[in-house]
């Protein structure tokens, strides 16, 4: 790999002593803040910052931005991640100075407009998921999961039901669920799915008992199919006193059509950065709002926005003494919440349903065309939800061309790779999620690329295995990268 030149140097490599861009300098610091720091904690040497001209800085960051493989430049069918287009209007309105300049410690009376937006966001999320109450506090999907399982534990503890420390996780659950349960001090019991991708009810019946705190599910599951036995699952788990956790990873498929609350779920986290279209995946922070049924409402993280005769106000620990507490200093990632709010307002109630319809239609269109082109589906008898799984196990055996080879070659055709090797129970898999925002022409172009790569695999496997050819770097040595970490740039000659 060493013969390949880096696509763009680090900005430190452009640095020359004394160079700078005077016109861009910020006002000189007053030092007032740092004067309060004890001398022992103040740095003695100035930080090593790059010294470059304005032109060097502009060129460097423009070139970097051109290396980006992003939703604004490329189709991005990364399964389970819902890489849909992020409408510019959401950004535009969230950047209004009245929102941007708002101080989080300003009294509620001075921020009624912002609070109203957050209150309405809570209300819309309640309505679209069928839950009793919502908190916008968690700042990412995993954060929302943590809040959800922490509430389940708090609920059982409040009832003096201390033996419940087991969380059941089907193998078709979202990949992060076992980690969340473990993080919350629970023991994970994994149960299998049947050949059609539904939860194995016999295995579930054996797994539940007096120690069951709850089950973590996503529906549609990570296999890209709708869990048809969800009511039976809910009955079994509720029957032994456990609760149902809904991972919102795949909410896009059912938006405006089916509500987790109606399926019997007690707690849900919503990835606003997926379903409600805020930038993510290196493009921005997440937001993992949580919704709960009535029995979990007292445990919701605070603050929550409430409304009374005087207007909108923060509900704190005083209003919710049983709350699991605060998961962020103020109102989660407020700017992200605003973007999700604007997105929902632009869609409206009918638009929500169209999201689910077109996400599902696009996935099933891709599924049908790829099947016709000779690709094997992991669950050929099932209709896709918003995503589906292709397995290239046969091609791996016949031509030695793997899912990773397909993924790398797709980059040369101008497509971000689908999710590879996940879920773990399907060998050589590609998890493909087109989302509702792609046109038929884009979907067709993706299919043509897949067909072209399949043809290459049959005729000239080396061509596929050598990909990518058009990216800043060629195939990386994953093993060496994991074992010989190269984390910090060091200057060739250290400054005096």
């Amino acid at each position: 790999m060493s013969d390949l030149k880096p696509a763009e140097k680090l900005i430190f490599e452009y640095s020359r002593p004394g160079r700078g861009a005077t016109a861009q300098h910020p006002p000189a610091p007053t030092n007032a803040a740092s004067d309060d720091l004890p001398a022992a904690f103040r740095r003695r040497t100035p930080p090593r910052l790059p010294e470059v001209s304005e032109l060097d800085a502009v060129r460097h960051f423009t070139r970097l931005s051109q290396l980006n493989f992003a939703i604004d430049t490329h189709f991005y069918p990364l399964g389970s991640c819902t890489m849909k287009y992020n409408p510019k209007a959401c950004n535009q309105y969230a950047m209004l100075p009245e929102f941007l300049a708002r101080h989080p410690l300003a009294p509620a009376t001075h921020g009624q407009g912002f609070l109203e937006c957050m209150f309405e966001l809570q209300e819309m999320l309640k309505e679209v998921t069928g839950m009793r109450a919502v908190s916008l506090n968690p700042m990412a999907g995993a954060h929302g999961e943590f809040a959800g399982v922490a509430m389940i534990r708090a609920y059982h503890a409040a009832r003096g039901d201390h033996a419940r420390n087991e969380i059941i996780v089907p193998e078709a659950a979202h990949g992060t669920n076992p980690a969340t349960a473990t993080m919350c001090g629970c023991i994970v019991k994994e149960i299998p799915v049947d050949a059609q991708g539904d939860v194995d009810l016999d295995a579930l019946a054996k797994a539940v008992g007096p120690n069951t705190a709850g089950i973590m599910l996503t529906n549609p599951s990570t296999l890209g199919v709708f869990e048809r036995k969800i009511r039976e699952v809910a009955k079994l788990v509720h029957g032994v006193g456990g609760l149902l956790y809904y991972d919102g990873a795949n909410l896009n498929a059912i938006l405006g059509k089916v509500r987790p609350g109606d399926m019997g779920f007690d707690v849900i986290h919503m990835n606003l950065h997926k379903t409600f279209s805020t930038p993510h995946g290196g493009g921005g922070p997440g937001a993992g709002a949580v919704g709960v049924s009535a029995r979990l409402e007292p445990f919701l993280p605070v603050p929550i926005v409430g409304r009374d005769a005087q207007g909108y106000r923060w509900l704190s620990e005083r209003d919710r003494p049983q709350s699991i507490g605060r998961l962020s200093a103020f109102m989660g990632n407020a700017g992200v919440l605003l973007r999700a709010y604007i997105y929902m307002r632009m869609l409206g109630r009918e638009g929500m349903g169209r999201v689910g319809e077109y996400a599902t239609l696009n996935a099933n269109y891709l599924l049908a065309r790829l099947r016709a082109a000779g690709f094997d589906l992991a669950y050929p008898e099932r209709r896709a939800s918003h995503e589906f799984i292709v397995t290239v196990k046969r091609q791996a055996k016949e031509f030695n061309v793997t899912a990773m080879d397909f993924a790398k070659r797709l980059l040369d055709f101008g497509f971000h790779a689908p999710t590879t090797y996940f879920p773990l129970l399907v060998p050589e898999c590609l998890l493909i999620e087109p989302t509702e925002t792609e046109s038929r022409e884009t979907l067709d172009a993706f299919v043509e690329a897949m067909i072209a790569i399949l043809g290459e695999a049959e005729r000239d496997a080396a061509q596929v295995k050598g990909a990518p050819y058009t990216m800043p770097v060629r195939r990386l040595d994953d093993v060496r990268a994991a074992k010989q970490l190269d984390l910090a740039w060091k200057p060739v000659e250290s400054p005096a």
Binding site: Y421, F422, P427, D478
Partner: protein, 130 residues
């Protein structure tokens, strides 16, 4: 085809067990398992002296594709682990039945009774298309 040595016994979860002359057993993962995982970059082994339960997770193998639990094929006590895997996990890819062994265990009486012979494990692999 995956290698399945005739003199070993196997768990359905793709671990192998070798009987040693002193009554202890050596444990590792099968050729099918190492191939499915891909290039290994990290192996987490249990502490010596730890009590293992058959069917419960006893180690973790991490490859460039995924991290997976290794399930103990027998109940018993860990006598030794293969320290070489800490620096060279690829030994499992290269020689999963030899230098890529993972641990030696003193098995509890009768705890290895349900393991498969080489023929039964080969049939199991054929059934899953491996």
């Amino acid at each position: 085809m995956s290698q399945v040595p005739a003199d070993l016994r196997y768990a359905k979860s793709h671990e192998w067990v070798r009987n040693l002359p002193d009554g202890s057993v050596e444990i590792g993962i099968t050729d099918h398992a190492q191939h499915a995982l891909g290039d290994l970059v990290f192996v987490e082994l249990p502490e010596v002296g730890r009590a293992l339960e058959a069917g419960a997770a006893c180690a973790v193998v991490e490859s460039v594709k995924a991290a997976s639990d290794v399930y103990s094929p027998v109940s018993g006590t860990v006598l030794a682990v293969n320290e070489a895997l800490a620096g060279t996990p690829e030994l499992i890819n290269q020689e999963c039945y030899g230098r890529g062994w993972m641990m030696r265990v003193q098995p509890a009486a009768g705890s290895a009774a349900e393991l498969l012979g080489a023929d039964a494990y080969t049939a199991e692999l054929a059934a899953i298309g491996g």
